[in-house]
């Protein structure tokens, strides 16, 4: 019974698409002798197949690609539009209002803090003066223009455009200067971005806690739902799916 529990879990990882080749082979071997697991596994495979068949298109994907390319060549009005920054994000009335407010706040801060004399825009891949502090578990980092996730360690260099991903039961602290840190809690994703020529943090999901020296300058954390400004010396930002 205990063994079957293990194979039922394998079936769930098969549903997830994360089963390893070794476990799949083991599951198939077990299913040959265990009727209950065989039925469960066969039902799972059949369900996936039935859904795929029912939602499939009579038009072969290859033909669809050719037909669309032909249409793009034949119809000159179908062309690539130049990028408008944040086009997808700013779709919709509420987003447009939010964008207006953000722009106003940005302009106000730009004028009052006087960033005019600052150097030209930093390249997006520039190294930033942030170091890695304490790490618990495995935290992954991916540089911009790369598909490879690497394990973050205390000696890692941090660049603009880096994405940090903490998995379950893992966390890390990024040291911004002598007395300021930003802690990324478990199951979170944080991206370093450039905004108004300043390094900014974008919390895609999860939770992070900022501890800042006092008094500190303006400090923001952006999220998919808006930007949060630090008013105190320590604050936590959480982004959930709901």
């Amino acid at each position: 019974m205990m063994t079957c529990e293990k194979y039922k879990n394998f079936i769930l990882t098969y549903v997830d698409g994360t089963i390893t080749d070794g476990h799949l082979a083991e599951l198939k071997t077990h299913a040959e002798t265990c009727e209950s697991c065989r039925e469960e596994f066969e039902r799972c495979v059949l369900l996936q197949d039935v859904v795929r068949q029912a939602l499939s298109s009579p038009l072969v994907a290859e033909k669809a690609g050719e037909s669309l390319v032909a249409r793009l060549s034949a119809e000159p009005n179908l062309r690539l539009r130049p990028a408008r920054y944040g086009m997808a994000f700013f779709a919709g009335k509420r987003a447009a209002i939010a964008a207006g407010i953000l722009l106003a706040v940005g302009l106000f801060l730009g004028f009052t803090i006087g960033r005019a004399g600052k150097s030209a825009r930093t390249p997006l891949t520039a190294r930033v003066p942030i170091s890695v502090g304490k790490i618990e578990g495995t935290v992954l980092v991916r540089h911009e223009d790369s598909d490879v996730w690497q394990a973050l360690d205390a000696g890692s260099n941090i660049y603009l455009g880096d994405t940090f991903h903490s998995t379950s039961k893992s966390a890390c602290a990024l040291r911004l200067d002598e007395e300021s840190t930003l802690e990324l809690n478990q199951n979170s994703m944080l991206i370093l971005k450039l905004y108004n020529d300043e390094t900014q943090f974008f919390l895609e999901h999860g939770e992070c806690t900022a501890s800042l020296e006092s008094p500190h300058g303006p400090f923001f954390i952006s999220t998919p739902n808006g930007r949060v400004e630090a008013l105190g010396t320590e604050f936590t930002v959480t982004v959930t799916d709901e």
Binding site: D16, R52, L55, G65, D241
Partner: protein, 195 residues
């Protein structure tokens, strides 16, 4: 199982980059890669297969026009799924207006027959196809996307999470719930197909 999009030689990033440099054939490769997923997403919302293909075509054309605005090309599948959802909503609104104006109704299930259906893989009858699509359409939208991205696009829960900017745990929970609901609702059909 179809090959996973990430396992193919050219990455989505490379294809997006080539398309932006003017290579329309690279966009053809993107369409080829995600055609089944986009049609399936449309079919999980609208009942007519021809309408779903029209939606898929329009979604790809919209994606092409707006490709330069795609912030993270490695999340192309997630971006396409959002465009498709938007196109489906537009199409459904048009259909409702059309039905109000002309008093049309959807084809009743009795009018369908037992002939093999017009799909890429004609193993199921038209009635069975209709039943499966209806069952999938009854799922909450967040579950439908998971089912299509997993079973049709063959992305793993980890890849889906990355594409949609969600936590893998959230995707896993939603997928398992959707799977359980489908297993329960499709049980009679699965028995019929098995026998």
């Amino acid at each position: 199982m179809p090959e996973s999009p990430t396992m193919t030689t050219e990455t989505d990033k490379q294809l997006v980059k080539s398309t932006l440099l003017g290579e329309t054939s690279a966009f053809g490769a993107i369409v080829e890669r995600y055609w089944n997923m986009v049609v399936a997403l449309a079919l999980s919302k609208v009942s007519d297969a021809a309408e779903a293909e029209d939606i898929a075509q329009e979604s790809f054309l919209k994606a092409y026009a707006q490709l330069a605005g795609l912030r993270d090309p490695s999340r192309l599948a997630g971006w396409l799924s959002k465009i498709t959802a938007q196109q489906c909503s537009n199409s459904l609104r048009k259909t409702v207006r059309h039905r109000r104006a002309f008093g049309c109704r959807a084809t009743p299930i009795e009018a369908l027959d037992e002939r093999p259906a017009m799909t890429a893989n004609p193993g199921l009858t038209q009635n069975q196809i209709h039943f499966v699509r209806q069952t999938v359409r009854r799922l909450p939208e967040k579950f439908r996307t998971m089912i299509v991205m997993r079973f049709v696009a063959n992305l793993s829960t980890v890849q889906i999470a990355e594409q949609l900017g969600k936590r893998p745990g959230t995707v896993r929970v939603r997928l398992h719930r959707a799977y359980k609901l489908l297993r329960k609702d499709l049980a009679p059909l699965l028995e019929e197909v098995e026998s």
